[in-house]
């Protein structure tokens, strides 16, 4: 199945599921059944389905389970379903009471983190690929190699009795080369940093002889590469780190949801 066909199928199923919910809600109104209980229980079951994705990811080599990518699709579209169901359940308004509000805000934060994750997992990989992929675990090693190479070139420049390049290195490059830099500017595709370096390199060349120019050109290439690796580091870090928000929030959400359920049944005398 082509990806667009799959998307169409999933969206159709989602719309169908929501229509069924709306229909049952209408029916409940006529039969005087409590819609809050109906949507609440469906919501809890759907949220539990979302947790199954994490469980599936922990199982390797199973013959009976669907591929993780299929579970991921289920996770995404059940997630959308849960958002709509939550709005139905909450009655499109801010709830009263501390626990309900905690639950509400945790859900909103969880939803936003999920949507953010979905967006970046779809948008960042093509950008990172176009920039020339590099494995995350290799980035720091490569940057260290660049740092060592630049230091070596600077030492080379000192051997030819010139400290112009060394001074430039101390003033402009050392801080930049020490570790991954400019996390946020890279994420927003902010190119001013590298343009600034470009301009400084051009300016410096005015004061260098041919031998020094050769050295500074090599340093320039390494700086551009360091900047590229910084971009990779920023993008790939974000792709990994957003889960540190999404997953803990999901556990908080589950905790508040269970508390909410207990309290609801306690208040109606069901416990």
């Amino acid at each position: 199945m082509k990806l667009h066909q799959r998307r169409l199928l999933n969206v159709s199923l989602l719309v169908l599921a929501l229509l069924v919910i709306v229909f049952i809600q209408q029916l409940n109104q006529y039969t005087l059944n409590n819609n809050a209980f109906f949507t609440g229980w469906i919501l809890l079951v759907a949220v539990l389905v979302l947790y199954l994705f994490t469980l599936r990811k922990k199982i390797t080599g199973g013959k009976l389970f669907l591929k993780v990518s299929t579970w991921m699709q289920l996770h995404i579209y059940v997630g959308f379903f849960v958002i709509a169901l939550f709005l139905f359940h909450a009655g499109w308004q801010m709830p009263e009471g501390i626990l309900k509000q905690l639950l509400y805000f945790t859900f909103v934060a969880e939803t936003l983190s999920g949507l953010f994750g979905l967006c970046i997992t779809r948008m960042l990989p093509p950008c990172l690929a176009r920039n020339g992929s590099v494995l995350y675990q290799d980035i720091k090693g490569k940057q260290q190699q660049i740092f060592d190479d630049v230091e070596q070139l600077v030492e080379q420049s000192l051997e030819i009795k010139s400290n112009t390049i060394a001074a430039f290195y101390q003033e402009h490059l050392l801080h930049f080369l020490l570790k991954p830099r400019d996390f946020w500017p890279h994420l927003f595709q902010y190119k001013k940093i590298i343009y600034k370096f470009e301009a400084e390199f051009i300016n410096l060349q005015r004061y260098l002889n041919e031998e020094e120019c050769e050295i500074i050109n090599k340093i320039h290439v390494l700086v551009v590469e360091k900047n590229r690796l910084d971009y990779q580091y920023a993008g790939q870090s974000l792709l990994k780190r957003w889960l540190f928000l999404h997953i803990p929030l999901s556990y908080g959400l589950l905790l508040f949801a269970v508390l909410h359920l207990i309290l609801v049944y306690a208040y109606i005398g069901g416990l």
Partner: protein, 548 residues
């Protein structure tokens, strides 16, 4: 640290039953009696090869010795009894395949069942597969369906030499005693003995020719004597080097985009007179068209494909004499069967239903599959088309979560069997994971047969018990997909060579998670549908994934 003796070839022989008496008896058989032990080296004595790289196997009447389609890396020599090759199994097989996929769920299973009885009885691992009584009766009724092989003749050499599948089913006509020669033994016998080398090569040509002609679709209507005529008039040619990885490894990282093209011998040149039909018997060939001063790759041909067919049909129908419209080059090592134009016209075209023939040539660049030329060029140039389970990652979907690596590691004692690094072709990465090649050159030099094809699936796997850590396969793999790893004992201590204290190594690579489900763990674990194991021999299938 634990010091142990470094494992050596023949520590684990092919069979433990090859006593000196049996070795002497085997060497006195007609086919091997000419062998001169003096021609063999001290480190690889003739008696050692027979004792360690061969084994005696007994088959009862009706038992299958080799099954068509299975992978095998050994050749056979009948010591006593009669064996027979089933000539044309095509159409007799019962191949039932249920289409997969959500939308194919209700489709009926595809079946090519022509006989309403099973050809073979089910077997367990202990017993040989056996012809079913009905099939045995059917074959005996129609003796044209098999060829009896004389005693003391070799067979099974095609799969062993071409590193591919068995091309025909061979069964035992009587109770037989057979010498099975492992690939390593066959290789060394051929290396040290000219007569065996010539004999096996001649058989390889003769059998390949027969098999290829028999399995070619538009020749299937020919009668036995017509096929025999074609067989006699056809030429068997080979191009490229058997161990092609050496020349490829020298040029694969060249910046000159034509460097690999330069080491590919030309089989047929665009513009040449169409002197015959070329059938690819084994290997891969690049199909290209001249554009200005360069060559544009428009596809590749593999075993069973033909070259020049459209031109021949066009000339035969119109009376014109157009030349070859494309060039054909050997990628690696290629066996070709060349059927002269006059023979093909006389035997094949004169009796064929014209509806089966292709239309006249108009524009040959419009091939059926839809894949970007740049991608295709690079896949061919870097020879990734050799892979039957190539790990391809769509970098526009991969988030670098490493779930694939973790899944692999969790099934393989905490050590992943691949590296996500690899060549970038357009938005795809071809990673350093064993591709389970159609032509696995890593197998050629293995001294013990530790790296081998699994019988039915054809996956390339390494037997840790027989791997001696020589690094031969890792050095031979042109794609750098095999790595050497240190070996540890049960307590986690590294094993060292007792003589020089260096760490003992074993080759390690992807085994496609044999025994852990039909889809490898890496592909199963990818949450973003970014990773797929693709059969690059099936251009339509991978083009489909590329264009999803």
């Amino acid at each position: 640290m634990t010091k142990v003796r470094r494992p050596k070839r023949w520590d684990k022989p092919f069979s433990k039953d090859m006593s000196d008496a049996i070795v002497t008896r085997v060497l006195s058989t007609k086919a091997l009696s000419h062998l001169n032990a003096g021609n063999f080296s001290d480190s690889l004595p003739l008696s050692g090869i027979i004792a360690n790289d061969t084994r005696i196997v007994y088959f009862k009447k009706g038992e299958v010795i080799v099954r068509k389609g299975e992978y095998g890396g050994s050749a056979f020599l009948t010591l006593s009894g009669d064996v027979a090759i089933i000539k044309n199994e095509v159409g007799l097989e019962i191949e039932t395949k249920k289409p997969t996929g959500l939308f194919n769920f209700f489709k009926a299973a595809k079946s090519t069942r022509l006989l309403d009885f099973p050809l073979f009885t089910t077997h367990n691992k202990e017993e040989h597969l056996t012809l079913s009584p009905q099939f045995q009766h059917f074959i005996e009724q129609y003796p044209d369906n098999y060829i009896t092989l004389e005693a003391d003749s070799f067979y099974g050499e095609i799969a062993a030499l071409a590193r591919g599948t068995r091309t025909a089913t061979v069964f035992s006509k009587t109770d037989t005693e057979i010498l099975e020669i492992g690939w390593q033994g066959l290789r060394d016998l051929m290396r040290y003995d000219t007569q065996i080398r010539e004999q096996v090569r001649a058989l390889y040509k003769q059998h390949s020719l027969l098999v290829q002609l028999r399995n070619t679709k538009f020749l299937s209507h020919l009668k036995a004597e017509q096929l025999q005529q074609l067989n006699e008039q056809s030429l068997f040619e080979n191009y490229g080097k058997f161990e092609w990885q050496r020349s490829f490894q020298k040029v694969k990282n060249d910046e000159d985009v034509n460097s690999t093209l330069k080491i590919e011998p030309i089989i047929a040149q665009q513009g040449d007179y169409v002197d015959g039909l070329l059938l690819i018997s084994s290997g891969f060939a690049r199909l290209s068209k001249t554009i200005n001063h360069g060559e544009k790759t428009i596809g590749y041909l593999k075993q069973g494909d033909t070259f020049g067919f459209d031109e021949l049909v066009h000339n035969w129908r119109t009376g014109e004499e157009i030349d070859y419209q494309h060039s054909l080059r050997a990628i690696g090592y290629v066996d070709i069967i060349r059927i002269p134009t006059s023979s093909i016209e006389k035997y094949a075209f004169a009796h064929i239903d014209e509806a089966l023939l292709p239309t006249l040539i108009n524009d040959h660049d419009n091939l059926d599959y839809d894949i970007d030329t740049g991608i295709l060029e690079q896949l061919v140039e870097k020879r990734f088309i050799n892979g039957s389970s190539t790990m391809v990652i769509d970098r526009h979907r991969c988030t670098g979560c490493d779930d694939c690596v973790s899944a692999c590691a969790s099934l393989h004692d905490g050590q992943a069997r691949f590296n996500r690094n690899g060549a970038h072709i357009d938005k795809y990465a071809i990673t350093h994971a064993c591709m389970h090649c159609t032509d696995p050159v890593c197998l050629i030099g293995c001294p013990t047969g530790a790296i081998h094809r699994s019988g039915q699936l054809g996956n390339i796997i390494i037997d840790d018990n027989t791997c001696i850590g020589c690094s031969g396969c890792a050095n031979s793999c042109p794609y750098e997909n095999i790595i050497m790893r240190e070996v540890f004992d049960d307590s986690g201590q590294a094993l060292l060579d007792e003589q020089n204290g260096t760490p003992l190594l074993k080759a390690s690579k992807c085994d496609l998670c044999i025994g852990h489900g039909s889809i490898p763990a890496c592909e199963q674990a990818c949450p973003h549908d970014a990773l797929k194991r693709l059969d690059m021999g099936n251009i339509a299938s991978f083009a489909d994934w590329f264009n999803r």
